[in-house]
């Protein structure tokens, strides 16, 4: 895979899952008040891998990881299996989960200023993580916090330690969140839309920081985003989700060069190009179905330009047409799919 050529430490994402993946999710489903929003997710995460999870709102990309970490409210019913180094996390005792979360698995969110406590100084919030997971106390907290702030490129660490979140900008708060996540020396950092609320030049800084830290510490990164561009530049492998299912998984280069699932093809065609000739955008017609009223067959079938009669009857399984690539599409296996660039004349249809 040419995309790894520039990778400093050379994590080679194996085409087949490694003998011992770090994290395995199997058959995970989530129901909110009897409505199924996650319909059986299987995925593996290798050590040091950068995995991108892409999908539109309602695709279940965030719910997957909130459920895996036991962060969903009680009204959610979660089933399936989530194993971290072979150890089952679903249904584990709260005390054990508390050691894993913020320790081996850390998560950061879209809006850093609402994830931080506005009335506590930054130092106290990062100190709490250090004390809880590493038993650091007293003046060592300040020293360790300074090391972490330096690691995430937060200048003037001493003053930041005594600052409140509102005294920092959005990008600086996100760096604080990343520093807190790194405090537990995590094996996995789950970043849920970490740059969506940030300005373009700050987004570039944060993505660059996440990549640098991953290479330096060897942690795995799960980057959840609605933006194909963001995951494309940061991740080795990409999972595309639609209405609570995985529809396609492939190495980043392959998925952009030759998307297999019609939904992935549609997403890429809908993006305004940033190079080359301008053309009319090709939207995916219709809209995401309501989770309470999913079509019986493939959930994408009603919007799919390639649908066959059989698509409306059976839910397509996630098949592996070639090594390392998975796609849940019946039509694509019948006829090899090509990126459709034909221009649609009607936007209102």
């Amino acid at each position: 895979m040419g995309n790894l050529a520039g990778c400093a430490t050379g994590y080679v994402f194996p085409a087949a899952p490694a003998p011992q993946p770090l994290l395995v999710i199997e058959g995970m489903t989530v129901d909110f008040n009897g409505v199924r929003v996650l319909r059986g997710i299987d995925l593996t995460l290798a050590r040091g891998e950068a995995l991108g999870i892409v999908g539109e709102s309602g695709s279940g990309k965030s719910v997957t990881w909130l459920a895996a970490l036991g962060l969903l409210p009680r009204s959610a019913t979660v089933s399936g299996s989530v194993r971290l180094d072979g150890e089952e996390m679903l249904g584990a005792a709260a005390s054990r989960l508390d050691r894993i979360r913020g320790g081996r698995v850390a998560m950061i969110f879209q809006d850093p200023s609402s994830a931080l406590n506005p009335v506590l100084r930054i130092g106290r919030q990062i100190g709490e993580v250090l004390a809880r997971h590493h038993g650091v106390s007293g003046s060592n907290i300040r020293a360790e916090a300074k090391r972490l702030f330096d690691l995430v490129g937060l200048p003037d660490a001493a003053r930041r330690f005594d600052a409140y979140p509102h005294e920092l900008s959005g990008g600086q708060n996100q760096r604080v969140m990343i520093a807190m996540a790194l405090a537990g020396k995590p094996d996995v950092l789950v970043a849920d839309e970490p740059t969506t609320a940030l300005d373009a030049t700050i987004q570039a800084q944060i993505l660059d920081l996440l990549t640098t830290i991953r290479r330096e510490t060897g942690m795995a990164l799960v980057l959840i985003s609605h933006d194909l561009g963001v995951v494309s530049e940061t991740c080795d492998r990409i999972i595309v989700m639609y209405t609570g299912s995985v529809v396609e998984t492939a190495p980043a280069d392959a998925i952009f060069a030759s998307p297999r699932h019609p939904y992935t093809q549609g997403l890429l065609a809908a993006l305004p190009p940033f190079e080359g000739a301008l053309h009319r955008l090709v939207p995916i017609e219709g809209q995401v179905p309501d989770p309470t009223n999913l079509p019986p067959g493939c959930a994408f079938a009603p919007r799919c330009p390639k649908r066959l009669a059989v698509c409306e009857e059976a839910v397509p399984p996630l098949a592996q047409p070639e090594n390392g690539r998975f796609s849940a599409c019946i039509a694509a296996t019948v006829q090899p799919a090509r990126l459709s660039l034909k221009l649609n004349t009607s936007v209102l249809a």
Partner: protein, 330 residues
């Protein structure tokens, strides 16, 4: 040459803000000496990060804010003061749409009523025909009678933005100011709305002032663009030129920060530092603390606008009188 529908000349707007609870009042210059023009039927994009003054500029263009200095000309005549009958008549020809359609819509009023409301307010045509007009407008943006009877909460994000568009366009405006109109929408829906906006622009001869941080969308919709930083324009010209061969180091950094699907190996210009606080604007060129090619003069002297042979104007010391491309190496 076609006439300008909108001209801003030398507009500035400052607010005063307190530093801390008992602190001194300090003026914040949200918009500083901005001059722009929009040609009839065309799209001018305003690009910049938060705090760059792009939304304030849009509000000034509509007369929602008065500039402290400078002039706003709509079809050659100055905007009357806000909330006067003359302003209201002129405002019917200029409409605005915002990023969050749910916040812009009345949550308790069916879409049809909201769409016909402007006709009621401006007393346009016989009352009996207004519902039909509203339904026709909704149809033009791709909403049917079923949608018309719905409340905003019953529609998806894309449908709500269509409803906002219908409501803005029912007065047959000639100028539409769009503040981040597709930023809150999913990719597949964003493409639908962008196409719709361009179709409506063509069919209704709309002129658009398109405020956005998304350069991919800007490239798709606009003929000209202005890049703003801390209330000032730093580069202004044809979108095609600016995106393919930008001259100002800030424009170059913005373009390099655009995440493009399927591209990994590119060298990105990572700006250090944060966008500075408008209340503590750096002396000289406001961009100099983050600029990779700043010189000594940049810290003291604010750069003047230079018009380059290709028609664009740029405010940067490094560009003055030099061939820009070699100068702005990264």
């Amino acid at each position: 040459m076609t006439a300008n529908i909108l001209e801003l000349s030398g507009i500035s707007r400052s607010y005063s803000t307190r530093q801390g609870l008992f602190g001194k009042r300090v003026p914040v210059r949200a918009v500083d000496d901005v001059s722009l023009s929009l040609q009839e039927g065309q799209t001018l994009a305003l690009v910049g990060e938060s705090g760059s003054g792009k939304s304030t500029t849009g509000r000034i263009a509509l007369g929602l804010e008065r500039p402290n200095s400078g002039h706003v000309l709509f079809r050659g005549s100055e905007l009357p003061p806000a909330d006067t009958p003359a302003w209201r008549r002129m405002r019917a020809q200029m409409q605005m749409i915002y990023q969050d359609p749910l916040a812009a819509l009345d949550r308790r009023l069916p879409i049809l009523d909201q769409t016909r409301e402007p006709l009621d307010i401006h007393d346009v045509g016989p009352a009996s025909e207004r519902n039909d007009k509203a339904l026709a407008m909704l149809d033009a943006v791709g909403l049917n009678a079923g949608h018309a009877a719905s409340l905003p909460s019953q529609l998806s994000g894309g449908q709500r933005q269509r409803a906002v568009l219908a409501r803005a366009l029912i007065m047959k405006p000639s100028l539409l100011v769009c503040d981040e109109p597709v930023s809150a929408l999913d990719v597949s829906i964003q493409a639908q709305v962008v196409n719709l906006l361009m179709d409506l622009q063509r069919d209704l001869q709309l002129s658009l002032l398109f405020i956005s941080h998304d350069l991919k969308v800007v490239r798709q919709v606009s003929q000209r663009m202005a890049v703003m930083y801390l209330g000032r324009i730093v580069e202004y010209g044809e979108t095609r030129l600016l995106l393919s061969n930008s001259v100002h180091p800030y424009t170059r950094a913005l373009i390099s920060a655009v995440p493009v699907a399927g591209r990994r190996t590119r060298e990105r210009i990572i700006l250090t530092g944060e966008p500075p606080n408008p209340a503590a604007r750096p002396a000289g060129c406001a961009f100099h603390p983050r600029c990779p090619i700043a010189r000594s003069e940049c810290a003291n002297v604010s750069p003047a606008f230079t018009t380059l042979p290709d028609g664009r104007s740029v405010a940067c010391h490094a560009v003055d009188g030099h061939p820009p491309i070699e100068e702005v190496g990264v």
